[in-house]
Structure formats: C-alpha cells, structure tokens
C-alpha cells in the first residue's frame, strides 16, 4: 500500500474507533460503579440519530455558529494524519510536527469557544471563558513535554520520535520520558474535559466546561462536535500510547503489519481508557480555581522532564 | 570706513530723539520709528559682508570701534531684535493699553537700550564695552516698570540693584586686567583695547589675570543670568513689557555672554583653556540645573520663558568650554535662542493682551482662539524643546557631540538628564495652554493680524537654520571659532 494512502486509512480508522473509545470508557466507568451502563457502541447510535435529526439554530447566532463545527471537526481530523496511529513512516511527517498538532487542537478549541459565545447565552460565555483559561494554562506544559520528548529523540517530528524509541528501547524507561508521560496524561484530562477538570457526564451548569459550549448545538452540528471531541480523546491516547510505548506500530506497510498495528492500538486505547475510568471513579471534580494548581503541578513535571532529558 | 558704523550707531539715537519730539500716537511717528529701527539691521548685514570679505573695519580715535566676526554676529542679532521691537513694540497693536506718555518713554529708552548694546558689541576698548553694558542696565531698568505696579517696581529695583552690583564687580575685573597690562607694558592710551590685550596676553601674569577673570565672570555672569546670580532675571522678564523682555532675553544675555567670550579669549591666550573651562562648566551646569528644576513647577508663562532663557544661557556657557566645536555649537545656539525666545516673548505679549492673565491655568484653547499666534507658539515651543526641524536641534546635537568628543561623557549625561527634565516640564505647561476648550468671554480671531508676519519670518529663519545653515552664517561661525575657540 503506498504511503500516501496510509493517511486516509489512518483517518478512517481513527474516525471509526473514536466513538467506540468514548463508549468503552463510559461502559468501564459504569461497571466500576456497579452499574450496567450503556453498551460501548452506544455513541455510534447517538451519532446516527443526531445526523438524521433536525437542526435548531439560535436567532442570535451568526454564520460562524454554523461554520465552527466543520472547522473544529476538520482540524481534529487533520491531526490524525500527523499522529503515528498505525505505521511509523508517516507520509505527512514533513508537513507537521508535535507543535503543529498542539496548535491545530488549539485552533479547534478557539473556534469552539467562539461558537459557544455566539448564541449569547450565559452558559456559552461561561464555558468559553473557562475552556480558554484551561487551554491557556495547559499550553506551557505541552510545550515543555514536547521538548523533553524531542530532545531525547533528536527531532520534534512524531514519526521520528516513535522510530527512535523503537530503535532504542532503553529510551522508553528514561526518567525524562516517564515524567513527560505523566505531564501529558494530566494535560489529556484537562484538554479532553475528563473528570478532575470538567465532568463529561452531566449538564450541571456549575461543573460543565466543554458541554456548556456545545449546549446550543443540535442535529448534525452536534454530531460533528461530539465526534470531534471523541477524536480528540483518541488522539491524546494515541500520543500517550504510540509515542511512549510504540511497540506494535507497523514499520513496513504490509497488510499483516497494519492489522497487527490496529489490534495493538485497540489494546493500548483500552488500557488507557481503563486508567482514565479508574481515575474518574476515584477523584471528585476539582473547583475551577484549583485547576491551575493541577496544571502547574503538571508544568513542574514537564520542567523536570526537560531537565532530566538534557542532563542525562 | 566710518559710513557702516554711522548707519549702525546713529539711527537708534535719532529714533530716541524723534520719539521725544514727535507725539507718539500719530502714525507718522510710528512709521519713522520703525524705519529707523530697520536701518541698523541693514548696516549690520553690511558689516558682516565686509567681515566675510576679509576686512575687520575699525573706526574712531585709537580705533575705539572694531568689528570682527564675533561682533558682526552679535550686532546682527541685536539689530534684528531691535527691528522687531521697533515694529511690534508698544504703540502699534490695536489692543493697546499703554498711555501715549508710556509709549514715548518706551520708544526713547528702548532705542537707547539698542544703542548701548550696539556700542558694547562693536567697542574694541574693553572699558568702553563695560560702560556700554552698564548703560544697558540703566536704560532697560527705566522701562521695566512701564505700568507701575507693586510687582513691577519690585522687579525693577532688584534688577537695577543686582545688575549694578554685578557690573561693578566686572569693572573691578577690568581694572585688574588693565593693572596687569600696565605693570608690564606701561601706560598707553590704547591699553584697554581688546586687540592689544590679545597681542600681549602671553606676557600677563597668570595669578592676576585669573583673579581678574573671576571678577569678570561673576560680573558679566550676573548680566548673562548665570546661576547663582540669575535671581533677578525671572522677576525682571515677567514684569517687563513683552517687547522689552524679548530684547532682554533674546540679546542682552547674549551681549553679556559676548563680553565673557572676549575676556575668555584673553585669559586662554595667557593661561591656557583649562582654568576658564572649569569655571564655565561649573557655572553652566549650575545654571542648567537650577533652571531645569525650576521649570517643573511654574504658574506663569512669562516666568517659564525666563527660566528657559537661564537654561539655554547655561547651555551656551557650557558649550564655550567644550573646545572649538563647542564654541561653534554655542554660537549657533545663541542665534537660535535669540530667534526662538524673542518670538515667544512677543507671542506671550499678544496672549497676555488677549487673555488678560499671566497665569498658565487661565490660558487654554490657544490654537482655537488665535490660530496663527497659537501655531507660532507651538512652533516656538518645539524649537525651544530642541526638536527638528528647528535650529536648536542641530546646535544641541553639535554641543553634545563636542562634549562626547572631548571625553566629557558623564558631564554630557548630566546635561542630557537636565535637558530631559526641562523638556517634560516645558511641554506639560505649554500644552496646557495650546489645547483644551477656550475660556468663556475671550474674543476669538487673530486681532492685529499683520503683527504676526515678522514672527513668521522668525520661525522661517529657525527652520532654515535647522535644515541647512546658510553658507555666510557658516563662514561667520568658523571665523568666530578661530577668534574665541582656541
């Protein structure tokens, strides 16, 4: 299979897996809380329903309200082309590196926040304000974590990082890598709106950040946004998985290697999803003004990661 | 050779006599006065042309009068401001509130004032120069209290007292200089001639000439408004009629500085520049400091301009001590300051007539009330602040350059800091007058419109000096550096 075909394949695999991942995490959390919970494939049904439903748009909203879902969804899908989902010699490795990934996600958050503000409801305003605050505070951690990784691997391009960790397994257990892993894990919780920062399950005004922005959406726009959110979760898990523990990622583009890559990817996503489910069942939601402490803790982790990576 | 001198010195006397005889209110008297004011300006230009052709015209017994480059420049300045005063002084503007007798008194003594300054500047004999400068104090003191009030009487008393005491000390210096010369060469009729003193300077005794220069510096420094002898200047300039303060601030300070430059040349020839430089830098920096800090809190705009004169005189005095390039910058600054300050005082005269109050807080919206006067006032402000395109930018730049070239880095740092303080305070005060809404009850419109035309000429001259100094002026300044710059 030619490398240029790998891009769309990776994108479609990601699109297929994402709702399942969210469903699986919800299902695992329910099981941990002794509830039956909805089946893992529930999100697929929701998406199908939403795509068919009628769209209701607020009279205050402008064209931006209708364009934002496409930009958010598009930027997240574009990221999947850059992230080493299945195979390492990525076709678009020259086009973008880890910094581009972070900033594409920030572009998505930017337009989501604007869309939240547009209908003019106080929920949207609150959600946008809090989302941008969290995103802004998460930026320095991501930057330092990237450079801790990049310094070890000699390049910020994701394919190169994964390839280097594959080539020298001892790198994986270097303190720099572990600290970077922890830092990015905390940022994942913050960015994808998981529990300690934001409660994905409820619509309670006080606690919701991500939900507040998509409150006004309905029909196919809501479907796109939900899908994009699920995709974002998948991307972060892939970063955690394939950059730090890249075994199982296909090195040659043979169908057998790719199938094996998909299987190992599913395994990793399951493991990380279980970890998140565990975290969410044991930790209550932090008050908004305690979130910066969490993020500064992750910043310190990233700082240590950078110092560890260039000291050793 | 006597014609240029006569056309230079006689007209002011004739003007004084004419003003005495003719009734001041009649237009003919005013026109005659103005005409007689312009003649010496042409004579001065003629003399400058002669000097540029290599002549140094002399006249009178034991060549009492001699015009070299320095004298020509100062004569030009004096006659220019005298012409302005003749044109714009009391007795012309429609909003005149001077009585005919006051106008007559002003014209007589203003002409005498101009005459004495011209004599001081063209006299070769140092004694006659002293007499002329003493006479300037007397002539100007009479018309400081033109409108008698408690403040103007007080100002005039302090002016005459401090001025006379200061000048007396200068005479002590002159006598000591003469004494030093006589003990070496014996009594000669032309002994007090500057040229003779310069020729025999190397022979003079250092301790005596240094003592003489201290007295000279304190004496003429009082007339030049150098600190700590400057205290009479703010009072005199703010209480005197604006035309007179323009003359005093513009040229009287320059004439006193001229005297110091003359004696400095003699002392440098005798003892070398180090002694006089140290004194000039000390006094210059002190004047700059006191004036700059005094500008910060000021309530009246004429006092503000007076302190600004002290600041610029201090700067010029400092410039003299920074080697040949410094003297060049100081002389250029002298011409620029004369133009800018006399223009500003004439404008403040018009503002005082229109707004009726000398307080800065009572004057606002000047650009709206009197657009031309306001515009020129703003131009004058920018010139005094030393911003391009006006001449002061160039002279300040050259002065600071001379300072750095002479290795006086830290001195120049102090000067720049003080100039910055003066800059901010002058800007703040004058901006409060230019902008904002016009107070109620103040008549809008320009009033005596053509009265502004000569001032526009001043501003234009400043711009010319700012962008490309004309060749003759350059030549004149270079000649001066040869005379006084060593």
């Amino acid at each position: 299979m030619s490398p240029w075909l790998l891009g769309p394949v990776q994108a479609s695999v990601a699109l297929l897996l994402a709702p399942g991942l969210v469903g699986a995490v919800r299902w695992m959390k329910a099981r941990l809380q002794n509830r039956r919970g909805s089946p893992p494939w529930q999100p697929y049904l929701e998406l199908r329903k939403l795509f068919a439903k009628e769209v209701v748009v607020s009279n205050n909203a402008s064209w931006l309200f209708r364009a934002a879902p496409f930009i958010v969804f598009g930027s997240t899908v574009a990221v999947t082309l850059l992230v080493p989902l299945l195979a390492v010699p990525l076709p678009f490795d020259g086009a973008g590196d880890l910094v581009v990934v972070v900033y594409l996600l920030l572009l998505g958050t930017f337009f989501l926040a604007l869309a939240g503000l547009d209908p003019g409801s106080s929920f949207g305003g609150m959600g946008a304000s809090r989302e941008m605050t969290v995103a802004a505070l998460a930026e320095p951690t991501m930057a330092l974590a990237i450079f801790a990784l990049a310094w070890g691997a000699g390049s910020t391009n994701l394919g190169q990082i994964a390839f280097r960790t594959l080539a020298t397994p001892s790198e994986a257990l270097a303190p720099g890598h572990l600290l970077a892993f922890a830092a990015i894990f905390v940022v994942t919780l913050a960015e994808t709106g998981r529990l300690p920062v934001d409660n994905p399950a409820t619509h309670l005004e006080l606690t919701m950040i991500h939900e507040a922005m998509v409150l006004e959406y309905s029909g196919r726009y809501l479907a796109l946004l939900e899908w994009a959110a699920a995709l974002k979760l998948l991307i972060f898990f892939t970063l955690l998985g394939n950059l730090f523990v890249p075994w199982g990622v296909a090195v040659t583009l043979t169908p057998g290697a790719l199938l094996w890559a998909v299987f190992t990817l599913a395994l990793k996503l399951g493991a990380l999803g279980g970890a998140v489910a565990l975290v969410e069942t044991h930790i209550a939601k932090l008050r908004l003004f305690r979130v910066p402490e969490l993020l500064s803790a992750s910043f310190i982790l990233a700082l240590l990661a950078v110092t560890a990576s260039f000291l050793l | 050779m006597s014609v240029p001198f006569l056309t230079l010195l006689l007209p002011p006397l004739l003007a004084a006599a004419g003003a005495l005889v003719l009734p001041p209110r009649r237009r003919a008297a005013g026109a005659l006065h103005a005409a007689l004011g312009l003649v010496p300006l042409l004579a001065a230009l003629r003399l400058a042309a002669l000097v540029l052709d290599g002549w140094t015209p002399t006249w009178g017994p034991t060549d009492l009068f001699r015009v070299d480059a320095l004298s020509a420049l100062l004569a030009g300045c004096v006659t220019f401001v005298a012409a302005l005063v003749a044109l714009l002084g009391p007795g012309f503007g429609r909003e005149e509130h001077y009585t005919p007798s006051q106008v007559r008194r002003f014209r007589v003594f203003a002409s005498l004032f101009a005459f004495t300054m011209l004599v001081a500047v063209t006299a070769n004999n140092v004694g006659v120069m002293w007499i002329a400068i003493e006479a300037t104090t007397i002539a100007s003191a009479v018309i400081v209290p033109l409108t008698v009030s408690k403040a103007s009487v007080e100002a005039s008393w302090k002016y005459i007292l401090i001025g006379s005491v200061g000048i007396a000390l200068a005479f002590v210096g002159t006598v000591l200089g003469y004494f030093d010369f006589v003990t070496l060469v014996g009594r000669r009729e032309y002994a007090l001639n500057w040229t003779v003193l310069m020729a025999n300077a190397r022979v003079l005794h250092p301790p005596v000439i240094e003592l003489a220069f201290v007295f000279i510096l304190i004496g003429y420094g009082t007339k030049a408004g150098l600190a700590p002898m400057h205290t009479w200047l703010p009072d005199a300039h703010s209480e005197a009629p604006s035309a007179l303060s323009a003359m005093m601030s513009g040229v009287l300070l320059a004439v006193a500085l001229y005297a110091i430059v003359r004696w400095r040349a003699v002392v440098n020839a005798a003892v070398g520049p180090v002694f006089s430089d140290r004194l000039l830098i000390g006094l210059g920096l002190l004047s700059l400091g006191i004036a700059a800090l005094s500008l910060v809190i000021q309530r009246q705009y004429k006092r503000l301009l007076a302190y600004s004169s002290i600041e610029h005189t201090g700067l010029m005095c400092l410039g003299l001590a920074l080697g040949p390039l410094g003297v060049f910058a100081a002389m250029l600054h002298l011409v620029n300051h004369m133009l800018a300050k006399s223009m500003m005082f004439f404008l403040s005269g018009r503002i005082l007539d229109r707004y009726g109050s000398p307080e800065i807080s009572r004057v606002s919206g000047l650009l709206r009330v009197m657009p031309w006067t306001g515009g020129l006032f703003a131009a004058g402000m920018i010139a005094l602040l030393g911003l391009p395109p006006f001449g002061m930018f160039l002279s300040k730049f050259t002065l600071v350059r001379a300072g750095f070239a002479g290795g006086q880095g830290w001195l120049m740092a102090a000067v720049l800091a003080l100039l910055a303080v003066a800059f901010v305070s002058l800007l703040a005060h004058l901006n409060r007058m230019l902008y904002g809404a016009a107070p109620t009850g103040v008549r809008q419109g320009e009033g005596g419109g053509w009265g502004v035309v000569p001032l526009v000429a001043c501003a234009a001259a400043l711009v010319v000096l700012g962008l490309a100094v004309p060749a003759p002026v350059m030549e004149l300044l270079e000649r001066i550096v040869e005379i006084a710059g060593r």
Partner: protein, 677 residues
C-alpha cells in the same frame, strides 16, 4: 534604484503638500492618500530591489545639513526588510485613512492629519536607509515628532493631551539615550556608519557595554519593552486608527531595527549577557503584555498591550540570536534572528489589520468600550470576517502567518537547551514556558476580543445600528488579510530571503544555509520540519471534505431558527450575556498575585424591601505596577527637588545679593587655595 528613492520622497512630499493646499474636503483626503500610496509602493519596490535582486543603493547629500557633515543614505538587506514592512503597512493604512478621516472634513485637523501622516511615513521609511549618526537621529526625531502630532489630532480631550505628553516625554528620554549611545560610539570621529563599525572594534569593553545599554534603553522605549512601555497603551488608542495601525505595525519595529543595527551590525555582537538581558526583557514583556491585555475592555488599548506582547516575542527571538551569536552557534543564531524578523513582518501585517478593524468598529459605533458592543457581525460582516482573520493570525493558529513565526520562535529556542552553560539552558527553558503561556493567553484574549465585540446580542443601541465601513476602509483591510495568507503559504520562499538578510549579521558565509526544503521549513540539523503550505492546504481539504460528506449523507431537513435556550425564562436580554470583564474574570483570579485586583460592588436595594435589588454596579481595577512604583516615585522626587530649588527664589533682594557675593567669595577662596599649590 535612485529613481525609486526619489519617487518615494516625491510621493510622500506631494501627499503632504496636497493635504496642506487642497483645503479640507474629500479631494484633499484622496490626494494625500494617493501620494502616500505612491510613496509606499515606491518604498516597496526599492526594498524588493535591494532584498530580492540585491541591488545596492547609496546616496550622499553633503550640502543638506552641511554644518554637521551632511546626510547619507544607504540601503542594505536589513534596512530593506524594515522598509518593505513599513511600506507594506503604509499603503493599506493610507487607503483606509482616506475613508476614515471623513470625520475631520471641514476642520483644520484634516490638514494636520494629512500632512503629518505623509511626513511620518516619509521619515519612518527613511530611518532604515540612514547611513550616518546625524541622519539617523534627525529622521528618528522627525518620526517621533510627526507621530506626536498625529496622536494629538483630536486634542480637545484631556486624556489625549496627557497621552501625547507621556509619548513625547518617553520618546525624548529614549532619544537622549540614543544620542549618548551613538556619540559614545562615534567618540569624536566622523559620523557615517562605516566609520562607526571601524570605531566599534577599537572601543574599550566597558564603553561597548555602555553603548549597548544606552541603545537598549533608547530603542527599547521606542519598541515598547517593559518597563519602558507605559506610553504605548496611552498613545495608540488616542491616535486615529490608521495611525495606530502604522505606529503599532511599523513604528515600534524601528526600535527592533535599531537594536539589530547597533547590537549586531555596528558593535558586531558582544558578550553573552547582552543576549541574556534582551531575552529576559522579551520574555517579561511578552507575558506582562498579554496579562495586561486580558484585563483591558477598551478595544484599542487591548490591541496596544498586544503590541507590547508581540514586541516581547520578537525580542525573545532577537535575544536568543544575540546569545547564540556570542556562544559561537551561528546557525542557531541565524534561525532565531530569522524567526524574530519573520514575526516582525507578520506582526506588522496582522496588527495593522486588527487596528484598522478596531477603527472601523469605532467609526461605526462611536465607542471603544467592548462592554457596549456585541452582535456587530450582522451589521458589519466584512469587518467581522477580516477581524477574525487578524485574530486567528495573532493567536498563532495554524493556517495563518502568526503560527509560522511562532513555530520558528519555538524551534529557535530549542538548541539553547543543549547549550554548554547551564544558566543559558535554564533561561531558555523559562523563556520557552513563558512563550507557550503567552501564546495560550493570547488565544484566550482574542476569543474575548472577537467574541464580545462581534458575536452574540448587541449591548447598546449604537452596536445595534452599526453600519459596514466604507469601501476604502474595507479595501485596506482586505489587502492586509491577503498578506496574512500569502505570508503563511509562501513561507518557504520568504524564509531563505530573511536568512540572506541575517547571515552577515551573525557571520555565516553568504550562501547561507536556507532553512527551507521544498515546501517545508527545516531547522538546522534537520531537527524539525513543518510546511505551512501543506498544513493550510490539508486543513482546507479536510474541512471541505467534512462539509461535503455532511451535505450528502446527513438529513436535508431545512434549518429551523429558534430562541436561545435559557432554562425557561421569557426573553433573552443582552444583560444576560458574558461581558469582557466577566470573560477575563477567571484569569484575573488565577493571576491575582500579579494583578492584585481591587473590586468594589455597590448594590442599591429596592426602597421597600432589602430582598429586591434595584441596581448593582461593579468596578474592578488592577494595580498599574510600573506607573505606581517606577514612574510616580521618580516624578515625585523631581518635584521635591524643584520645590527645594524654587525656595532659592524667595523674593528677598538681600538673599539674592547674598548668593552673588557668596559665589564671588567662594570662587576667590578656590582661586587662593589652588593658587598656593
């Protein structure tokens, strides 16, 4: 080339003359605008000539200002970049100005704006060409003075006058330092830059440091680096919008040009602490700039503080460049300087666009306060879309040019982490953290700026009836928005050009290593590759594909418009919306240690019962650190000295005479004492 130079001068001069002569109507406005545009395009052509085709240009005019050695002009690669930048912002601003200055029709202020704008553009375009101390300083002062008059156009408002005074005072302080720096460097010799370069090597290290320190203060105050930035958030909002665009876009860049010219070209680099200091100042300016911007709810002062932030980013790049040059890492230094130059050009373009947008909003609604705007996207669709482009660009988000230069900045800091001395590494890591935080906060700030101003429900009648800007204003903005896209997509062509500009400064061989391979940018040693072209294309493709997919597969039921959901209350009023202050409230609370906010809430209850509230007024203010703890004490001390000196003028004649006699006695005493030896 000489013809282009003369065309540049003639263009601006004719624009200025037209503004003066042709009265105060539309004719005058358009004539001066066309003159300015002609001058700007000549400038652009001149710069392109020097930058792209490498044609040298130099002109000596010894008779002009003969008294002090005459004026000299020379255009080299570094000057060409800044000339291009100035002209690139000048043309659209002038076009925009033609429409915008209709507000002054029939008033003398129009003449002042027209004349001063052309004078300002002329002096600013010639500053990068100056090749002698006096030429540079004269043009520098001319630029400051003409921009002062532009700031003072509507000077009947007292805060505009005080802004003007702050501005001119600060510029004058900066000029005094520059004067000191250049004259120390010249130390008596001739004034042309070539002589300065020769003299620089002979200078003692102490003097070189002094020259650099003075130049840093002088140029830093013009660029708006913390703590010399206080004039910027006062002067920019006070100036007409197209002037603020020029000041923010091009004028403060002259500070950067000056630092590069003196720091690298004339002095030829220096010890490591130069770069470290500049880097630290840049990082602090970036972070504090964005923090102050977050708290602003006046649109133009928000943009002004963002200028401080972006200047901070540029200075980080420059500081890193200086540091690497002193640590003998020429490739890394070149990359850092290329990043700085690229961000300078980018900032000129998108900040110009944002200020023009803010001007259009001010023109339409008559207010700058964001809490009284809202919903302008309906009344002003063009301006909203263009302001959005500017916001995305300034926040450094991918498809546009802001992202490219911020990516370069990130990558240029990276080699520093591996630098030999640990202090440099720590500095780089901290700068990196502050850079990332600044980028994040900048995105948050512009969500607030765009969202509160253009989206949701109009908060005041003026916002409701806002009308679209005139076509000339929109044309100006469209040009700049286009430039944003071109600068992003064409990055792989522009970066090599900038590298050629920077190479001689850091001592790289002339065929400098180009940091671009095919369509992608590549950092030295192949450390990181990114192709803005591909990212933009890919993003566009994917969004289009998503839109098509949804259009074909999803239901084609018509869109229904309904009421915004509000938990069942009756009507949606603007007071229920988030305001700018509310949006920034979480960040104010998080950074409370820095802001130290003071909030006072006054509630007046309904007369007959304490449980019903008639009105609540909420006012919060943050501590202006620099004004209160740096400038106020200095001013207070100068006033105290002044009072003490004025006590000398006590009014008593006897005291005055005592001063005179005391001076005499002191001098005589000094004479006698020195006489002894």
């Amino acid at each position: 080339m000489r013809a282009l130079f003369l065309l540049l001068v003639a263009g601006y001069a004719s624009g200025a003359a037209a503004a003066l002569v042709l009265g105060t109507g539309a004719l005058a406005r358009w004539a001066s605008a066309l003159g300015a545009i002609a001058g700007a395009s000549a400038g652009l052509a001149l710069a392109a000539g020097a930058c792209v085709w490498g044609a040298a240009f130099s002109l000596d005019a010894p008779d002009l200002l003969g008294v002090v050695g005459g004026m000299a002009f020379r255009l080299d690669a570094l000057g060409a970049v800044f000339l291009a930048l100035t002209s690139l912002v000048a043309a659209p601003s002038a076009l925009y100005g033609a429409g915008y200055s209709r507000a002054w029709d029939g008033r003398p202020a129009l003449r002042q704006v027209g004349f001063m704008l052309n004078a300002f553009l002329l002096t600013m375009s010639l500053v990068p060409l100056a090749d002698g101390t006096l030429t540079f300083l004269l043009l520098w002062e001319g630029m400051s003075l003409s921009s002062y008059f532009l700031v003072m156009t509507d000077a009947d408002k007292p805060e505009v006058v005080s802004a003007g005074q702050w501005y001119l005072a600060m510029t004058q302080m900066g000029f005094a330092c520059l004067l000191g720096a250049f004259l120390l460097l010249q130390s008596g010799g001739p004034g042309s830059f070539a002589d300065l370069r020769a003299a620089a090597d002979a200078l003692a290290p102490g003097t070189r440091d002094m020259v650099f320190a003075l130049a840093l203060i002088g140029f830093g105050s013009k660029a708006g680096l913390i703590p010399l930035h206080v004039w910027l958030p006062r002067a920019h909002p006070a100036a007409p919008s197209h002037v603020s665009a020029l000041m923010s876009g091009a004028m403060i860049k002259m500070g950067i040009y000056g630092l590069l010219r003196v720091g690298l070209d004339l002095l030829g680099g220096g010890p490591a602490w130069w770069g470290g200091l500049v880097l630290a100042l840049g990082a602090v300016s970036a972070l504090l700039g964005v923090l102050y911007a977050l708290m602003e709810h006046d649109l133009k002062s928000l943009l002004a503080y963002h200028s401080v932030e972006n200047i901070g980013l540029i200075t980080i790049g420059m500081g890193a460049g200086l540091l690497f040059a002193s640590l003998e890492m020429p490739a890394a230094a070149a990359l850092a300087l290329v990043a700085a130059l690229y961000h300078t050009v980018n900032h000129a373009v998108f900040k110009g666009l944002l200020f023009l947008g803010a001007g259009a909003v001010l023109h339409a609604t008559g207010t700058r306060d964001m809490n009284r705007m809202g919903g302008l996207i309906r009344g002003m669709p063009w301006t909203a879309a263009l302001f959005l482009v500017g916001s995305v660009a300034i926040s450094g988000l991918p498809p546009l040019n802001g992202f490219v230069s911020e990516w370069l900045l990130f990558q240029s800091l990276l080699p520093g982490i591996g630098a030999p001395s640990p202090l440099v590494a720590v500095l780089m890591v901290l700068a990196l953290g502050m850079l990332a935080l600044t980028a994040g906060l900048c995105a948050a700030c512009f969500v607030k700026a765009f969202g509160i101003t253009f989206l949701a429900i109009p908060r005041s009648p003026e916002a409701e009836h806002a009308h679209e800007a005139a076509w000339s204003m929109r044309a100006g903005m469209v040009v700049l928005a286009g430039a944003c896209v071109v600068l992003s997509v064409g990055a792989f062509k522009i970066v090599p050009r900038l590298t050629e500009v920077v190479a001689p400064l850091v001592g790289l061989p002339v065929p400098a290593p180009s940091f671009s391979v095919g369509w992608a940018l590549q950092t030295p040693g192949g450390f990181a590759r990114m192709s803005p072209t591909l990212v933009a294309a890919g993003l566009g493709l994917v969004v289009l594909a998503a839109w098509l997919a949804v259009k074909t597969f999803a239901s084609r039921r018509p869109l229904r418009v309904g009421e915004t959901w509000g938990c069942g209350r009756v009507v949606q009023t603007p007071r229920m919306e988030y305001t700018a202050t509310a949006f920034a409230e979480p960040l104010r609370r998080i950074f409370a240690a820095f802001y130290r906010p003071s909030e006072d809430v006054s509630i007046d209850f309904h007369p007959d019962s304490r449980y019903f509230v008639q009105s609540i007024s909420y006012h919060s203010a943050i501590v202006p650190w620099f004004e209160r703890y740096l400038y106020a004490p200095v001013i207070a001390r100068v006033r105290r000295w002044s009072e003490r000196v004025l006590a000398l003028q006590s009014g008593s004649a006897h005291a005055y005479l005592t001063y005179l006699v005391a001076a005499l006695v002191l001098l005589l005493g000094w004479l006698v004492v020195t006489g002894q030896r």
